[in-house]
């Protein structure tokens, strides 16, 4: 089977879950004999032996495309519509060259590539699958940017199949985009558990936040919980890893709450594993989380997790603690409990690690191929 895959970010340069997920899925698919032509707006700066990477930047020399540089999307949002359009034109050109390559379908990841997917379908006349890793509704906290929302809506309406990363996301797509339920399939993200897990001692107990500083990720709920915890148990350090539009506001808030001696902001870090290795508990207080790959990352590093019920990953995890993001008392209670009751921490860690081993990309690739076959059959019929 030959697939034209359209992505926006790719390791080693990636921003978030989207880059990791599209990379891991492609790798697992290619192991199963799927041939992938992966088109990206920029050059990841590295060659991969399991797929052919085509960069629209390199290919479409005439387009004034800004190369992908690993900055946060929101920062250069004003350039984004142009980049999205240029990418689509680049993909169209590439598709024309691939007409005789026997492409079976197009698989496009997130809204930035949806326009490109539609144009490529015009050229290749094969089924189009749109893979939704997050929606504008999640990212914007319910105030969608109409430009992005419309691209998503139109794309999903016109696509032959929509893949959502969770039932949580599927529901969003049905409710907010009016896409019929039977057109949407769920494909959960997965994780490859590291062969060796590093654990390091730290001078105090460590509670970890790791994610973009946006409304969607709920960093303010984390801070409020921290304040409550510090009053009970002063011997706890809170690490907030990541950057984003709310970072400044959060630092100010920590100052106002008088907890700057216990809460540390690291900004963007090169290696998140360093932080997992000292964490006693990972907290993901997301307001609206399509999946939440970091929860699996934490578990695979033997860190117990507390996750928001408003997340896709909470559908598939049993060995964790679940909270409502707004229930700061409950978040604080659960963090303190994990820190205080060692058997709880140990069991969450051990059982969570065992559980996360079952989330393999290999299984997800099988499922994805199933979806491929279904959509090809449907279109032929």
């Amino acid at each position: 089977m030959r697939v034209l895959m359209l992505g926006w970010e790719f390791p080693p340069k990636h921003i978030g879950g989207l880059g990791i997920a599209s990379y891991e899925l492609s790798k697992a698919l290619s192991k199963k004999g799927v041939e992938i032509f992966f088109v990206l707006p920029g050059d990841p700066g590295k060659d991969y032996n399991f797929l052919k990477i085509i960069s629209t930047y390199v290919e479409a020399v005439n387009s004034p495309l800004t190369p992908y540089a690993g900055t946060s999307m929101s920062l250069n949002f004003f350039n984004l519509p142009r980049e999205v359009d240029n990418f689509a034109l680049g993909v169209e050109k590439i598709a024309k060259r691939l007409i005789d390559e026997g492409i079976d379908l197009i698989h496009a990841h997130d809204w930035m590539t949806f326009k490109a997917g539609l144009l490529a379908r015009e050229v290749l006349h094969v089924p189009l699958i749109l893979h939704v890793h997050s929606t504008e509704i999640d990212r914007s906290g319910g105030n969608p940017n109409p430009y992005v929302y419309n691209i998503e809506k139109e794309g999903m309406e016109k696509a032959d199949l929509v893949i959502a990363v969770s039932n949580f996301t599927k529901k969003r797509i049905v409710e907010y985009y009016g896409i019929p339920e039977e057109k949407i399939k769920v494909l959960y993200n997965a994780i490859e558990v590291p062969k060796k897990v590093k654990r390091k001692k730290f001078r105090s107990k460590v509670v970890l936040y790791l994610g973009r500083f946006t409304l969607q990720k709920g960093p303010d709920y984390f801070l409020k919980a921290a304040k409550k915890i510090i009053q009970k148990d002063p011997d706890v350090t809170f690490l907030m890893v990541g950057e984003g539009e709310m970072l400044g506001e959060m630092i100010e808030k920590a100052c106002r709450l008088g907890i700057t001696d216990k809460v540390f902001f690291t900004g963007r870090v090169p290696d998140v594993n360093e932080f997992y290795s000292i964490a006693d508990v990972y907290v993901m207080p997301s307001v609206s989380e399509p999946f939440g790959l970091t929860a699996l990352e934490a578990l695979s590093n033997k860190v117990p997790v507390i996750i928001s019920k408003q997340s896709g990953v909470s559908e598939v995890l049993s060995h964790c603690l679940k909270v409502d993001f707004w229930d700061v008392d409950d978040i604080a209670n659960k963090i303190l409990s994990v820190l205080k009751y060692s058997p709880l921490k140990k069991m969450l860690e051990e059982n969570g690690f065992t559980e996360v081993k079952n989330f393999s990309w290999d299984k997800q690739a099988d499922k994805c191929i199933e979806y491929y076959k279904e959509v090809i059959k449907k279109i032929k019929a």
Binding site: K228, I230, D233, P234, S318, L321, P343, L344, M347, L348
Partner: protein, 480 residues
């Protein structure tokens, strides 16, 4: 001649509330009255009321006999929420065809953790049965039919004639459960559950893919007739009727017809457990050096103390025994005992979702981890109550507007920071805060931290060294 000994275990736990760390020391109660009443009303309607009605009719119509164990914690709840159900049990006992079997009042695992507490709870149960039913029990069953030889000795010494336990191959090996046996090390008799015939009703009755489905009373009677031996012990949870097996499965019709079908064979009869041991001599001695139960395929205690959370919670609970009893405070003692009910530990069990299926069993909590958190928080609250205060709160941070502003610019939010700060403090600064006229630290500790004992202690300290020593000793004690 086959005797059928039909025995039902009746129990509902007193469930605990969701209890947060922030609830510790707040005076919030442990038990969820509303939820307990809700569950009791539901089970009374679905199971107790219709089943007792049928049992009473059966006793009037046939020579039908049944034995019950009703836990103290359920009896308490019946008295409180459903006196009419209690009355229906009393009416059944008054017929003379019902025998009451004894156990631990709190449906606890006391036998595993404290023999003394075990005896006390058995005594409490005897007292309750006497008070409500006027019966003195002669037969004993432990929580979940947990049993070993030593337990046989202890209940034999308490005057019991027989113990009910599981007829598992683990102890029977090649032998049949359909005879009376004698315990090793005491001469107490053993009545062993015929688990296949019991589970046919309790677990398999409504299972469509079971090859005997649907189970009818005459089919079941034919199995009884075909079973060799003296006595068939059919033991199960009372809640089988109407709750585990819903009315819609036909379980009540089955029960209504069962005695008639069994008694169609003139050689069959229903017997009470104390009649069994009068009627039949033991055929052999059985040794049970290890603990067994009637639970799961393992027939062990892994559903209650199989994981580390469960073992920790149980150990910590029972480690409070002496301190709890010393308080002589009725509400502390009763709360401590209600926390011993085995169900609380069952809710912390993780072995069922090894395969990811968490919906296999009923759990009022979202997960076993949540069950553990509430239980441990309650235990810590109980510890505070036992100590008569909540000393651990003295280690917490004070509100932002009550912090100690030291003359050298340091700010202290809690006792540890004060201790740390004193170390760095110059004598001059110290003397500014502590003099003949005043002791700012003692005042702050008294008025803001609230630890009057410590405040009194350091009020007289004139040197930094002595103040620090007293402070550090106190912190060590508070941290215990």
């Amino acid at each position: 001649m086959v005797s059928v000994c039909f025995y039902l275990h009746v129990h509902q736990p007193i469930r605990i509330k969701k209890f947060s760390i922030f609830d510790i020391g707040s005076g919030k109660g442990y038990f969820d009255e509303e939820k307990n009443k809700f569950y009791l009303d539901r089970i009374a309607r679905k199971s107790y009321i219709p089943t007792n009605k049928i049992l009473l009719e059966l006793i009037k119509k046939y020579d039908f006999k049944v034995s019950f164990s009703i836990t103290g914690v359920l009896l308490e709840q019946l008295e409180k929420y459903a006196p009419e159900v209690l009355k229906s049990f009393q009416d059944l006992v008054d017929t003379g065809n019902v025998e009451l079997v004894s156990e631990t009042y709190y449906h606890s695992l006391a036998w595993v953790f404290s023999k003394d507490e075990f005896r006390r709870q058995v005594k409490l149960q005897e007292k309750k049965l006497k008070e409500l039913f006027g019966q003195k029990p002669k037969i004993f069953r432990n929580t979940e039919l947990i049993y070993n030889d030593d337990m046989g000795k202890v209940v034999s010494d308490m005057g019991y004639k027989a113990v009910m336990t599981e007829g598992t191959e683990k102890i029977l090996e090649w032998r049949s459960p359909c005879y009376v046996y004698e315990a090793s090390g005491s001469n107490i008799k053993l009545l062993l559950k015929h688990y296949r015939l019991s589970d046919d009703i309790a677990f398999r009755f409504s299972t469509p893919y079971w090859n005997e489905y649907p189970l009818t009373a005459d089919k079941y009677a034919s199995w009884i007739n075909a079973t060799p031996g003296n006595v068939i012990n059919i033991f199960m949870d009372y809640e089988t009727f109407g709750e585990h097996q819903w009315k819609e499965t036909g379980i009540f019709e089955f029960l209504k017809h069962l005695p008639r079908e069994i008694l169609k064979n003139p050689n069959n009869e229903f017997v009470l457990p104390s009649e069994v041991i009068k009627k039949f001599k033991p055929v052999a001695t059985i040794s049970v050096p290890f603990l067994i139960s009637w639970a799961d395929t393992e027939r062990d205690l892994s559903a209650w103390i199989g994981n580390e959370m469960q073992r920790t919670a149980a150990r910590e609970l029972y480690s409070l025994e002496n301190d709890v009893l010393k308080t002589k405070d009725k509400s502390i003692i009763s709360d401590w005992r209600k926390l011993q009910t085995a169900d609380h530990f069952y809710y912390m069990c993780t072995k069922w979702f090894a395969d990811g299926d968490i919906h296999k069993y009923f759990n009022p909590y979202e997960s076993p981890y949540e069950a553990f958190i509430s239980f441990m928080n309650i235990l810590n609250d109980l510890k505070n109550r036992i100590r008569g205060d909540s000393m651990s709160k003295y280690l917490e941070n004070v509100p932002d507007d009550k912090v100690f502003w030291c003359r050298d610019g340091q700010i202290f939010k809690n006792l540890k920071e004060l201790l740390f700060g004193l170390e760095k403090m110059s004598d001059e600064t110290f003397k500014f805060h502590v003099s003949k006229e005043k002791n700012d630290f003692a005042n702050w500790i008294r008025d803001v931290i609230g630890d009057e004992k410590l405040a009194k202690d350091i009020m007289k300290s004139r040197t930094k060294k002595s103040l620090m020593k007293k402070l550090s000793n106190r912190i060590k004690k508070l941290e215990k």
